[in-house]
Symmetry: C2
Subunit: 487 residues, 2 copies
């Protein structure tokens, strides 16, 4: 976290969205005891939301909380409403909310413009119009809403309850979930995640301006399908990316994808070429998938920005060396020769058979643990290099006795732990690659190791190409930013 | 498995490698009781190899087997020898093997030409020369050797003991392991897997000619770093690919990768452009990674060859729809509109809110299980389509109660099971996407589902891009083959 900055505190306090992220009480209209019907309520309880009012005329109690027949029947103030009732019952509820002085409303409710049906588009337009008259800000419709750890807001169970420096704005609820769950497994924690669906009111441009003002947010990701005002969004992106790193995923870059954005969030996707040009101009990093979004955020968050394109690959296995080298070179990085001094020191640490001390370095220390710390320290200190990619573990399936495999993993971890302060002093990114697997034993072993190395502060990736692509993008981003720096 | 073909049985019986794949007894020279020292012995025991002789002058017993001080001391005949002694002790052992009438020798032993040192290159040359004089075929050096389920040969524990129609030839031991373990998780079973390292004798060309002759082998994958005789390999590949599908992974396609092949297997990689041209000419499918090799073999093995490029994407989630559409379109497939009849039938099955019945189809049936069978059957029957990509499950992390998640998964599986005979009758590939995860609960759940749907006969992939890339390559392969068919 950054230390508090009085100027930014003022800036965020003046932003119209900020109070919305800190509601005094939340009502969930349409909560029920049917399967899945209490999801929002349980997510809010789990996240520590203090005042939750389930609303449903046909229920008395949900998860131990008293239920109110309508918004008007709630005794205290209500700042934020989650609507999960069908679209055709939204209008009277909106009137109740207006009377109650509600500030913001999240429509989980779908079935509006994205259906492509004219009566449902008209309904959406009436709701937008009326909400504006009632001074209620709208998230959605057709989205998951707000996740703000610390304010007790969440839209799903299992979200981390501790906050962090990453904000994510997603037109898609699935993608909002993905960044929270998969991002959390990779060590990310969040200031705010907003899923904003059809974006009839709160949209990507306003959220990016908020991210710029928000002192809790250091890194920003956005998944955008379309927009009402391209010029405004590009302007907001430019302002934001000039101060904070931004990873941008654009849905609908192809014709088929663009057709799909219309069914999904009723969005006109715009031309892929324009988005590419705008992202480059803003120095926002345009990525190709949610996994790549997470990779970029992990790269920034865990200090993986290299000062150049020269990478060493360190693996345990010759086939991995060759494949990894091809992948890294194809993605625009270089694998320079190591210095003679590095090679001589590595030869002392590495038996000659079945290894290589050139770049890529193929070392048994990644299997056995022995001498991994001095091996990594020696490579990192090489002046020919800007970053290291180290692949830990591969799919050995049932090849090892579980106890033996765990012991090796533990030894490997201890070596990494030992190397960490010295690698930090050298200051070059060390990107650790830990693949996923469908094999339960491998998955459990590598998942455990992943959490332990993240706790040491390493940026982690699930494949060598993912690590290389991210380092390449981080380097380009750094270079562009340096070129634009004043003076 | 194919029914026996007398002509091919004769052809394979005449191939010089065939007896090597059926040894009467195997000796492991250099086996020991140190950690890892008995790996080959335990792999052979586990694989059901009947006669195993550990050889070590300093041991009496290994894993319950009597140990012999040298090859000459073994009472019965020895057909195949695994050498895991250091390189500088190989020469006298080779003399013993000659005296014993050994047919083939696998040098796990590394530290030869791949080290780049002249005395070790000279040693390798002496061994090759002497083995030839002694009439002993050599695998390697610097490799894992032979996995032949049914003949009791294996180089690692945890390999399936049942055989299947896939052969894989790999210069890299890691890649040989990867295809066995990761391939097995995806439903592949193998006739033979050979890791052949520096390829001083048995090489890719000879192995491809063997695959052509072998009635147990229907599909072939190869990982090749370099070769002594390009013309011969390209000729062998052309002959093989004319009869059996071949997926080819070339290590060292970039300059950095090519440098790495020299350290790994002392191979001269050759130009990437020449490999691309040769693969196209032979109609072997050139892939970019081991995962893509496995994807192709899964595609052929489980009947995922489409009759055209028109694909439907079926997902549960709007963000996935858009991203998946972009991925599929970028990879050269098309997502056509569904027919009016299909849309009408899907509307009956699919609630309007939060879904889409266009292509991509965004359906809650993939979350809830309900109506998944008729949904898939309706889409598969659409005349506008050649194949389906269906993404099952995403990363919901800790979002669900484990019991509830398992119940949904079970219902989903029952629907798939119910749809299977009807989908088989329609005859279009239905590629199922089941992602991996580092989350232990998600990994366990999806890993379990994966095995169940493979048992139903579905081709499975870990991402939409992987499925789309494979279908695109299968379609191109099919088209080229049809163009070349006589008449």
């Amino acid at each position: 976290m950054l230390p508090p900055d009085p100027e930014q505190e003022t800036r965020v306090a003046n932003h119209p969205l900020d109070p919305i992220f800190h509601p005094r009480a939340v009502a969930v209209v349409g909560a029920s005891s049917r399967p899945g019907g209490a999801n929002f309520v349980s997510a809010l309880i789990e996240q520590g939301c203090e005042t939750i009012y389930p609303v449903n005329p046909n229920a008395d109690e949900i998860l131990g909380l008293p239920v109110f027949p309508n918004l008007g029947a709630i005794p205290g103030p209500v700042d934020h409403v989650i609507s999960s009732i069908p679209a055709d019952r939204v209008e009277p509820m909106l009137e109740d909310a207006g009377a109650k002085g509600v500030r913001s409303m999240h429509f989980f409710t779908a079935g509006f413009a994205e259906t492509g049906e004219s009566d449902r588009l008209a309904l959406q337009q009436r709701i937008v119009h009326r909400a504006k008259e009632l001074n209620i800000r709208v998230f959605g419709p057709n989205c998951l809403g707000l996740y703000v750890p610390g304010s007790g807001l969440a839209f799903a169970s299992g979200c981390p309850t501790d906050a962090g420096p990453v904000a994510f704005w997603a037109q898609s609820g699935t993608n909002a979930n993905t960044v929270i769950y998969d991002g959390a497994l990779r060590g990310l924690r969040f200031s705010k995640v907003v899923s904003f669906g059809n974006a009839v009111d709160v949209n990507a441009a306003e959220l990016c301006r908020y991210a710029l003002a928000d002192p809790q947010t250091e890194f920003v990701g956005a998944y955008i399908e379309g927009l009402p005002d391209a010029r405004d969004l590009f302007q907001a992106l430019r302002e934001l990316a000039a101060e904070k790193p931004v990873a941008l995923l654009k849905g609908g870059m192809t014709d088929a994808g663009a057709r799909s954005t219309r069914s999904h969030t009723a969005s006109l996707a715009g031309s892929g070429a324009i988005w590419r040009a705008a992202a480059t101009q803003a120095n926002a990093v345009l990525v190709g998938s949610m996994q790549e979004s997470i990779d970029m955020l992990v790269g920034w968050r865990f200090g993986a920005v290299p000062q150049g394109e020269r990478v060493a690959l360190v693996v345990g296995g010759g086939g991995l060396s060759v494949q990894g080298s091809d992948d890294i070179a194809s993605l625009g990085l270089t694998l320079p020769d190591l210095t003679v001094a590095t090679a001589e020191r590595l030869r002392e640490l590495t038996p000659i058979a079945g290894t290589s001390i050139r770049n890529p370095v193929d070392t048994q220390s990644l299997w056995r643990g022995d001498d991994l710390a001095p091996t990594l320290e020696t490579i990192a200190a090489d002046d020919n290099l800007d970053a290291l990619i180290v692949q830990i573990g591969t799919s050995w399936g049932g090849a090892m006795d579980p106890g033996f495999a765990q012991k090796r993993q533990d030894r490997l971890f201890r070596e990494l732990q030992q190397a960490t302060p010295r690698l930090a002093k050298i200051g070059k990114p060390v990107a650790l690659v830990i693949p996923t697997s469908h094999d339960p034993f491998t998955a459990q072993l590598s998942g455990g190791l992943l959490q332990r190395v993240i706790a040491l502060g390493y940026p982690t990736f699930t494949s060598v190409p993912a690590a290389a692509r991210t380092l390449q993008r981080l380097n380009t981003w750094r270079r562009r930013r340096a070129e634009r720096a004043p003076g």
